[in-house]
Symmetry: C2
Subunit: 298 residues, 2 copies
């Protein structure tokens, strides 16, 4: 019996997990129903007609996180401002239909007062925090790598500040559309390490990026190593420079939440800076966060 | 009578000027014959059949600069290494047919030993230097804004070092293909200035870029101001950070060579940093450089 239908409903895809009363996964399905692919007003109908039956969860309570709470989604779930606790997020849950609730996003002042926003990553963060009592105290620097990498400052279990770096999106658009284009996979670890070294302190990124071209046309490096070099350069610049915007330093230690391969690349770049890190699976954290929010007693 | 057919033959286009014996422009034409659009081995034939007759220059001597000297072009004109003088470039001219010569590109060690390269910008630089005797002495910091912006260090009339920043290409690919996409023109100077301020010292660019999104979705800034803000952010980061890679500082003064509108944006960003600059037309500099190289007596 499905006790909870938990979903991470993002821009491109919807991932659903049918959970038993202990939070164990009974079934898992991805749907091409990301909010950018939906017509306005369509989310509720598609969810009832397609997602619920596919998971055998026609009547189960539902909790949704991600862009489904944006103005492109089902219903706007207003941002909770930093500093934010698990209880603050639970208090901000928006009920959009009987037994269906959406997790709010979180907003920070941003490093320069221009604001920063997240929808979905907060759920992973609090899922990770809920996983061990020792995580609820002290100061942490947490990174969720990805298209829009999130760097988060956590103090005694509260998300106090965060910034977003477009690291993954820069890699994607430069690999697809620029003079650095390549469809090679990131597998050449020597080139990756060379890119991390070329990133230096992360400053002057537009110039450092051109070294990915110059090393090929001016120094004879193989063109098929460009993707790995570019990945090292962008991730190296991210780990070297972004924590400083939070008055943090990766050398104090970083918690990485995300897919194993991408966290592996971040760990490698952090290692080159002598920065220790711990890695945790992002999907497990998302499920744990959705369960923790659903179970919160207000 | 055409005394010289001078061409800047780049990746996308070929621009040709028919010049009289005093270097004055008799005719000017653009051709969609950039080297990226040519089949291998096709350059010579297309030049003779299309470019020469269109300019009434079937028999005039010819000088060509730009990517035509790369391995995608007509014939490889090997790079001249920094430090490079006008005489070094003239000595490196490659004759590819009777009366047809190609200007070599220039290679630098790059700020990190990975090398840097240019083809075409050196001709503009030496054209500008040739324009006034006072420019041949002392230390200059010269910037040619564009898709691949070149920052050049000149000492006593020699190009001693340079770095390339992919500033224009980042603007193009982010405006066309990322979450920051926009087809608005860069006309909102308040948003541009806000972007320059957000660029700060140019560090952590991937995170600063996301402020272009967050200011809209988190702070209500109008989406149509994104292109101007993004332009300010990228140009602001370029002027703040790239000169440092040459152990230079824009505050010492910058010579801008290029199109007037783009040089205007760079001048505005430099002004926000209190950095003085002088602006010169890039096309006039290219013509002057081609004439100076053609006229050099070895």
């Amino acid at each position: 019996m499905v006790a909870l239908l938990a979903c991470d409903w993002g821009t491109t895809n919807l991932r659903a997990w049918a959970l038993d009363p202990d939070g164990a996964v009974l079934a898992r399905r991805d749907f091409p129903l990301g909010v950018a692919r939906l017509e306005p007003g369509e989310a509720a109908r598609r969810f009832v007609e397609e997602v619920r039956p596919a998971l055998g969860a026609e009547d189960a309570p539902v909790i949704l996180c991600g862009m489904v709470g944006s103005n492109l989604g089902w219903t706007l779930a207003p941002y909770v401002d930093c500093p934010a606790s698990l209880g603050d997020l639970a208090a901000g849950l928006v009920t959009v239909a009987a037994g269906v609730r959406i997790v709010p996003g979180v907003r920070s002042a941003g490093f320069n007062g221009r604001g920063d926003v997240m929808r979905g990553e907060e759920t992973q963060l609090f899922g990770w925090l809920a996983g061990d009592a020792s995580r609820a105290t002290g100061r942490k620097l947490v990174c969720q790598p990805g298209t829009h990498a999130k760097w988060m400052r956590v103090d005694d279990g509260r998300l106090t500040d965060f910034v977003t770096a477009m690291t993954g999106e820069l890699f994607a658009v430069l690999s697809a559309h620029s003079v650095l284009r390549s469809d090679a996979a990131v597998t050449d670890m020597a080139a990756f390490d060379e890119g991390v070294a070329a990133a230096g302190d992360g400053g002057a990124l537009a110039a450092r990026l051109f070294t990915a071209r110059a090393r090929v046309v001016g120094k004879g490096a193989p063109a098929e190593s460009t993707a790995s070099y570019l990945s090292g350069l962008l991730i190296g610049a991210d780990v070297a420079a972004t924590p400083g915007l939070l008055a943090a330093d990766a050398a104090e230690g970083v918690v990485l939440l995300g897919d194993a391969p991408l966290c592996g690349l971040y760990a490698r770049a952090l290692g080159a800076h002598g920065a220790p890190c711990e890695r945790f699976d992002g999907e497990a954290a998302a499920i744990a966060g959705l369960v923790a929010l659903h179970s919160w007693e207000t």
